[in-house]
Symmetry: C2
Subunit: 356 residues, 2 copies
């Protein structure tokens, strides 16, 4: 199952990342974003994404999908079989936007919300056909990181969850369907736990943001990027495996290692402390430069993992390998289509994906 035409409502960092992934897969995308700067901002993200895809798509890239800017949600969603909502995290705004998408979308279009934490059931109340709403929560940069958490609400039909899974997989992603609906799902529950703990460590002066980042990236960050937490701990248990590990480290849960579990007060002083330390750590690079470094690293790491497990590919690398192949196949497809078109006076392309 593939996406013929997509709509993105909201073109911020996440929305533009969706636009980039879709367009670079050869899919036409229509955007609605009331921000007068939207076109420029999406353009910047596209520039970065094109650069990353040219680097990683060693077998070629399909002809880029056409990106258009709609004047209304109704115009944007017309004819789209996937509609991705990426507006700010306010339930009232989500309700308003989803109601409008719902009113104008094709009957069987999948509506995916990029929310990091709002439960789909809480968003469905505003919709007349809520059965096709799923949360499809991606990770920045959306055009490179493959994960998408798929979460259905009380009114979501199973077949739409399954269809969403297939649609997102068709653009090189790794959909993980979350079994029970909770706030913040799995990804942001883990991220929040880490963030909360990190804020304490900075606030209490135990380390700076640069030291904390170094502690992550020179150690367990490298473990988690390839195996995740449980598989790593299985190994740490040594020859006795997981049960041994659990027996050995379970008791720490009641040690003072976990005593600071309340939420640190989030005030101007803390914001200042972190922003100042962050400037000291990264001020020598612009955000655009950091994005390039990040994207190059992500591609290089996925390529490295693509050679893992004796050449079979491992984790994100295994998927990356398939994705590069898929883009290459699509490249040949669009080349052949362009050739056919050039040879024939009549446009024989599917009208929706034809770019005149």
């Amino acid at each position: 199952m593939t996406i013929t035409r997509a709509a993105c409502v909201g073109g911020g960092v996440i929305g533009a990342g969706w636009v980039a992934r879709l367009a670079l897969n050869g899919i036409d995308v229509s955007i609605f974003d009331p921000d007068p700067e939207a076109k420029r901002k999406v353009g910047e993200v596209m520039k970065g994404a094109r650069r990353a895809y040219r680097r990683m798509a060693t077998n070629g890239l399909p002809r880029e999908g056409r990106i258009t800017y709609a004047k209304s949600i109704a115009e944007a969603v017309e004819g789209a079989d996937l509609i991705q909502e990426s507006v700010p995290e306010r339930l009232d705004l989500k309700h308003k936007v989803l109601a409008e998408i719902d009113a104008h979308a094709q009957r069987d279009a999948i509506i995916g919300s990029s929310t990091s934490g709002i439960k789909p059931t809480d968003m469905q109340s505003a919709m007349k056909r809520p059965q096709r709403l799923v949360v499809a929560h991606p990770f920045n940069p959306v055009y490179l990181l493959p994960l998408v958490e798929i979460v259905g609400g009380e009114k979501t039909k199973k077949k739409h969850v399954e269809r969403a899974r297939e649609l997102y997989a068709s653009i090189g992603m790794k959909p993980v369907v979350i079994r029970k609906e909770i706030e913040a799902f799995v990804g942001d529950r883990l991220l929040e736990a880490m963030w909360r703990e990190a804020l304490w460590l900075i606030k209490d002066g135990i380390c700076t943001v640069e030291e904390l980042d170094d502690i992550m990236r020179y150690s367990f960050g490298l473990r988690w990027a390839q195996m995740g937490m449980f598989q790593v701990y299985r190994i740490a248990g040594g020859e006795a495996g997981m049960r041994h590990f659990m027996a050995q480290f379970g008791p720490c849960l009641s040690w003072p290692w976990t005593k600071l579990m309340d939420v640190p007060e989030f005030n101007d002083e803390l914001v200042d402390l972190i922003a100042t330390q962050s400037d000291a750590q990264s001020g020598q690079w612009s955000i655009r430069e950091l994005e390039k470094i990040r994207d190059d690293n992500l591609v290089a790491m996925m390529e490295a993992l693509a050679r893992g497990d004796g050449g079979k590919g491992w984790g994100a690398g295994e998927l990356h390998k398939d994705y590069v192949k898929q883009l290459g196949k699509a490249a040949k497809g669009s080349k052949a289509a362009r050739k056919r078109k050039a040879e024939s006076p009549a446009n024989t392309l599917e009208p929706k994906s034809g770019k005149g």
Copy 2:
């Protein structure tokens, strides 16, 4: 400043990892571990470490240091300028072992404890010369992951912290000196936060251990391996940077995303659930096979990062590049020394590092 001779007290997963890093840097290591299986277990780790180093040391490796098994702590620490303690995490045991190390170590030897969380001040009470004790907390696999958290206690002298920093850096590590002594330091505070949250997610049936691992390794794991958390969020703030990000996501701290902050009950049911899911996820590989896959991935990812930032190297990759060069230089050094020795009837080598 370099290490001439090292002693490792405790030869489990962590202790053996230290032995491997030291020996592969050409340093003689004496081990004390009362476990009758110690020699076999250290041998297994050495086998894995040699394999990884052969792969990564593209400029050659120094002649391996000699590994000897001592009958007592006194015998092990004799003549060592670095003594690494890696015994189980029980304060009474640490006291007993450190007192014995202290009594027999060279006056100016650095004593590093591998503890993940016990405060150095709490360990120093058993020592007569506590000023040279630091926590030097590494991450598994010690022979590949570069991070070591250096923590001084109330009685640790600054110059010994500085010397420890230099000694660990000399064997390719990234020492980060922790500014204030707290239980679990920085690394294990972060790991515990993540672990606690993960246990909730599994216990509540939100996802399986395999799904949770996938959620990490197809998304933020790849981000953290190269940049850590704060630098990543700086980028997420977009053109407005860190302050914008903080303003946008700060309020989530008081949302229900963080409501489950107490400690899940750690009972047999939870251990069973996790061990069973872990078998389903990884049962097809032995621990040794998983270790090989992990080590290959770690080396490949560090090599990938060594090409980062336009070839300058980035994060763990920048260090990796230097480490490979350093091993290569040492390789030439030991080759030259072997040649000199072969040409001369008298052994002109420093007796401590001569291996007959």
